[in-house]
C-alpha cells in the first residue's frame, strides 16, 4: 500500500486542490476536517464548510474524517487572543493556530491515524536540504502565506507538504474547476475565522472583554472625541473613529497613531502621511528561527510587519535569544504591537517575532 498522506481539509478550494493533487500523484490520501470552535453558529461557517468538504471528498473518492480541536483552540489560541486584546494589542490568531492546532494537534492526530506526512493548502513551499528544511514563500506572491507559518520548526516542516505552494491561485481555481470541484469559485476566507465578517468584531469582543470607553486626543493633545474602548482600535485604523471634518479641523481623514493604555486615551493623527504614524524601528520578542539563528550583521534581510505587505529592507541591530531590535530602511506605517514581524532573505522565510514596541 502506498504512503498515507492526511490533508487538513477546510472545505475551501485550496485544501481541496491539495487533496486532488496528492491523489493524482498516487498517494493514499485521506482528509480530516477540523472543528476548532463551538457555538456562535451565526458567525462561524463550520457547518457549511463541512458540507463542502464532504462533497469534495465524495467527488474525489477520499475518506473524510472529522475531529474537534475546540479545546486546544480555546486554550492555546483564543485565550491568548483575548489577553492580547485586553492589553490593547492586536494579536494574530492565525499564526498561533498554525503552531498549536494545525501543526501540533492536527499533525499528531494525523500521525496517530497512520499518516507519513500531513498536507495543507497553504501558499508556501518547503525546501529539503541535506540536513534541514527551509520554508519558502509561495510561488504566487500575492497569496504567499509564509507570514502565518513562521512559527513552524524543523519537526513540523519535515512532516508537512504544501502541494499548491508552487502554483498560483488562478491556476488552483482552474484546477478545481477542471476537476469538477463544487467549491472552485468559493470566496477566500477573510478576517478572524471564529468571528466572521469584520462588522461582528465589536460585538464579539464585547462578550469577552469589559468595555472601557475613554477620550480621543490628537497627537498635539487636543481632545477631539470619545472612543468605545481601546481594544476596538488598531494602529493605522481609519474607519470607525467618528471624527470627520467638523470639530474645527480640516477635512483630511484621521488615523489611529497610538494608544495611551495608562490613561485609556486613543491618540489620532490627521492625514495618512502624518509623521506620528511612521516609525523607523521596532523591538520584538518571542523570537523564533526556522533554521540556524542568523547573525545580526546578516545582509539583504527584509521583513514583513503585516500579512501581504511588500518585503521591507531592514537590519537587525540587536539580537538576543528571545528578542531583537530592528531598524527599517524606510519608516514604516502603523507598526502594530502584537502583530508578527517575519524575516526573509529573498524568498526564504527565516522566522519571526512578536512586535512589542516601536521607536
Amino acid at each position: 500500500m502506498s504512503d498515507t498522506i492526511i490533508v487538513g481539509m477546510s472545505g475551501g478550494v485550496d485544501s481541496s486542490v491539495t487533496a486532488k493533487i496528492l491523489k493524482d500523484q498516487g498517494y493514499n490520501v485521506e482528509c480530516v476536517f477540523m472543528k476548532n470552535w463551538e457555538g456562535d453558529p451565526e458567525n462561524c461557517n463550520a457547518e457549511e464548510d463541512y458540507k463542502d468538504a464532504l462533497s469534495v471528498c465524495d467527488h474525489l473518492d477520499i475518506p473524510l474524517r472529522s475531529v474537534n480541536f475546540s479545546n486546544e483552540y480555546w486554550n492555546k489560541v483564543f485565550q491568548h487572543f483575548i489577553d492580547e486584546y485586553a492589553k490593547g494589542r492586536t494579536p494574530n490568531p492565525d499564526v498561533l493556530c498554525n503552531r498549536e492546532v494545525k501543526f501540533k494537534a492536527f499533525l499528531n492526530y494525523a500521525f496517530d491515524l497512520g499518516a507519513v506526512k500531513i498536507a495543507t493548502g497553504h501558499y508556501a513551499q518547503i525546501n529539503q536540504l541535506e540536513n534541514e528544511f527551509e520554508l519558502l514563500k509561495g510561488l504566487d506572491k500575492n497569496k504567499d502565506q509564509s507570514y502565518f507559518l513562521y512559527l513552524l520548526g524543523q519537526n513540523e516542516l519535515s512532516k508537512s507538504l504544501f502541494p499548491i505552494g508552487n502554483i498560483d491561485k488562478i491556476k488552483v481555481r482552474k484546477l478545481a474547476e477542471g476537476s469538477g470541484l463544487i467549491n472552485y469559485a468559493k470566496k477566500d476566507s477573510t478576517g478572524v475565522c471564529f468571528i466572521g465578517e469584520q462588522k461582528f468584531f465589536k460585538d464579539f469582543l464585547k462578550k469577552y472583554i469589559p468595555v472601557k470607553p475613554g477620550l480621543i486626543q490628537t497627537v498635539d493633545g487636543k481632545i477631539c472625541g470619545e472612543h468605545d474602548g481601546l481594544m476596538y482600535y488598531t494602529m493605522g485604523q481609519r474607519k470607525g473613529l467618528g471624527i470627520g471634518g467638523g470639530h474645527g479641523f480640516k477635512e483630511a481623514p484621521w488615523f489611529v497613531a497610538d494608544k495611551d493604555l495608562d490613561h485609556n486615551i486613543l491618540i489620532v493623527a490627521q492625514g495618512h502621511d502624518h509623521s506620528s504614524l511612521f516609525h523607523q524601528g521596532l523591538e520584538a520578542d518571542q523570537i523564533h528561527w526556522i533554521n540556524e539563528t542568523p547573525t545580526s550583521s546578516l545582509e539583504n534581510i527584509s521583513a514583513k510587519i503585516r500579512y501581504r505587505q511588500d518585503d521591507q529592507s531592514c537590519k537587525i541591530t540587536e539580537l538576543s535569544k528571545n528578542s531583537c531590535k530592528v531598524i527599517f530602511k524606510d519608516p514604516q506605517f502603523a507598526i502594530t504591537p502584537g502583530q508578527s514581524i517575519v524575516f526573509y532573505v529573498d524568498n526564504k522565510c527565516l522566522g519571526g517575532a512578536i512586535i512589542d514596541k516601536r521607536f
Partner: protein, 371 residues
C-alpha cells in the same frame, strides 16, 4: 463492506423497496382528493395503518404517521405547552430528540427533571416516583437506549405513572425487530417509532397515541392524520414503513435468535482474543445484537478510522454525535470513567450479518486494539 451499525440505521429490506417502488409508480394521487386517484392513495395509507395497528395490537386510530421518530417525540413534547401541568420527567440518557427539545421548551414554561441511571443505564422506578410533583404533566423515558442497548424496566415505570395518573411517553425507536412489543401489554400513552431503524425507509415514522390520551398537533394545516399531523402524506414511505413493521413482527423470533447468536459468537470470540475488553450496558436486559465495547488505551476515533479503511463500519457513541472525540454523555451518566468512555465503540448487528462477518470484525478489532 461489513456494516455493523444497525442502531444508526438499517439498509432497506428488498420487499419493502418493492412495495415502495410499485406504490410510487402506480399511485400519485393526493389522499385528500375525492376522485379515484385520491381514494386509491388514501386506501393505501389506511391499509398500511391497519398493518401497523395489527402488528402492535393497537387500534387503527391510534397510529399517527410522522416524518420521523424525532418528529413523533417533538409532537408529544410540544403538546405540553398548551397544558396546565408543564413539568416533565425524563432520563439523563435520552436521545437529543428528547433532551434538546426539552431545553428549547424551557422557553415556553416547560420544566423538566432528568432522572439518573445506574451503571447499566437503567432508570429506577422509585426515583421516578419520588420526582413526581403536582405539576408533572408528562413522563418520557426511552425503552431501549441507542448507545448501550439497555432495556428500561418500562412496565414498572409505567405502573408508577398510572398510579399518579400521569401520561407516559416512550421513545421506542430502537425496539421494533429486537423485542416483542404490544401496546396492550405496555400501556404507554405515547410511543415513538422510526421506519429506518427496522429496514424501512428514512423520512417516515409514526406515533402510537392511546385513544383517550390527549395530543395537541405540532404541524397544523390540511387536517391529515385525524388533525394530528397535517401535510400531504408520504404514500410510498408509509407503505414501506408498514411493510417493514410487518416483516419485523412476523419474523421477530428468527430475528432475535439471529441477533443473539451473532452477539454471543462475537463476545466469546473477542473475549478469547482480547480478554481486557469491557462490555457496557446491562448484561442480560439489553437489546440483542447491540454491544458497547471498551478497549481501554485505544481511542475510539482512531479505531473507527482504522476499521473504516478495512470496510468495517461501526460507531462510537450515537451516530448523531460522531465527528468529534468528545466523551459520550450516555456513558458519562452511567458513571463510566473518561478513559474507558473515549475508547468505546458500538457494534449493532443486523439481519444480513453472518457468522463470517463476526469473524472479520473480531479479527480486525484484535489487530487494531492489541498493540
Amino acid at each position: 463492506m461489513s456494516y455493523f451499525d444497525h442502531n444508526a440505521t438499517t439498509p432497506i429490506h428488498p420487499l419493502v423497496l418493492n412495495k415502495m417502488s410499485s406504490t410510487s409508480e402506480a399511485c400519485f394521487g393526493n389522499p385528500s382528493s375525492i376522485h379515484t386517484s385520491g381514494r386509491k392513495a388514501k386506501s393505501l395509507i389506511e391499509s398500511s395503518r391497519r398493518v401497523i395497528a395489527k402488528a402492535l395490537q393497537a387500534s387503527t386510530n391510534e397510529i399517527i404517521f410522522t416524518g420521523s421518530g424525532t418528529e413523533a417525540n417533538n409532537s408529544v413534547l410540544w403538546s405540553l405547552i398548551y397544558e396546565k401541568n408543564k413539568h416533565v420527567i425524563t432520563s439523563s440518557i435520552e436521545h437529543p430528540a428528547i433532551l434538546k427539545v426539552l431545553d428549547t421548551l424551557s422557553l415556553f414554561g416547560v420544566s423538566y427533571t432528568k432522572l439518573p441511571v445506574n451503571k447499566f443505564g437503567e432508570v429506577n422506578p422509585q426515583n421516578l416516583e419520588e420526582s413526581i410533583t403536582d405539576n408533572t404533566g408528562l413522563i418520557s423515558i426511552m425503552m431501549i437506549n441507542n448507545e448501550v442497548g439497555t432495556i428500561n424496566p418500562i412496565k414498572d415505570l409505567i405502573k408508577v405513572a398510572k398510579e399518579k395518573n400521569i401520561p407516559f411517553h416512550s421513545d421506542a425507536v430502537q425496539t421494533i425487530g429486537k423485542i416483542p412489543l404490544s401496546v396492550k401489554n405496555i400501556q404507554a400513552d405515547y410511543l415513538s417509532f422510526s421506519g429506518h431503524k427496522f429496514y424501512g425507509p428514512k423520512g417516515v415514522g409514526f406515533l402510537y397515541k392511546k385513544k383517550k390520551s390527549k395530543l395537541n398537533p405540532l404541524i397544523i394545516g390540511g387536517g391529515q392524520e385525524g388533525q394530528f399531523r397535517a401535510g400531504t402524506e408520504n404514500i410510498s414511505g408509509i407503505v414501506g414503513l408498514a411493510e417493514a413493521v410487518r416483516l419485523s413482527i412476523e419474523n421477530l423470533d428468527n430475528r432475535i435468535l439471529h441477533l443473539e447468536k451473532l452477539e454471543s459468537e462475537f463476545k466469546d470470540k473477542l473475549l478469547h482474543h482480547s480478554p481486557n475488553v469491557i462490555f457496557n450496558g446491562h448484561p442480560e436486559k439489553h437489546a440483542p445484537g447491540v454491544i458497547s465495547a471498551s478497549f481501554i488505551g485505544k481511542r475510539s476515533d482512531i479505531l473507527l478510522a482504522e476499521l473504516d479503511r478495512e470496510g468495517i463500519e461501526v460507531s462510537s457513541g450515537s451516530a448523531c454525535g460522531s465527528g468529534s472525540v468528545k466523551p459520550s454523555f450516555v456513558l458519562e451518566e452511567m458513571g463510566i470513567p473518561e478513559n474507558q468512555n473515549t475508547s468505546t465503540i458500538r457494534i449493532s448487528f443486523g439481519r444480513s450479518n453472518s457468522i463470517k462477518d463476526v469473524s472479520i470484525l473480531v479479527k480486525a478489532l484484535v489487530k487494531f486494539t492489541n498493540v
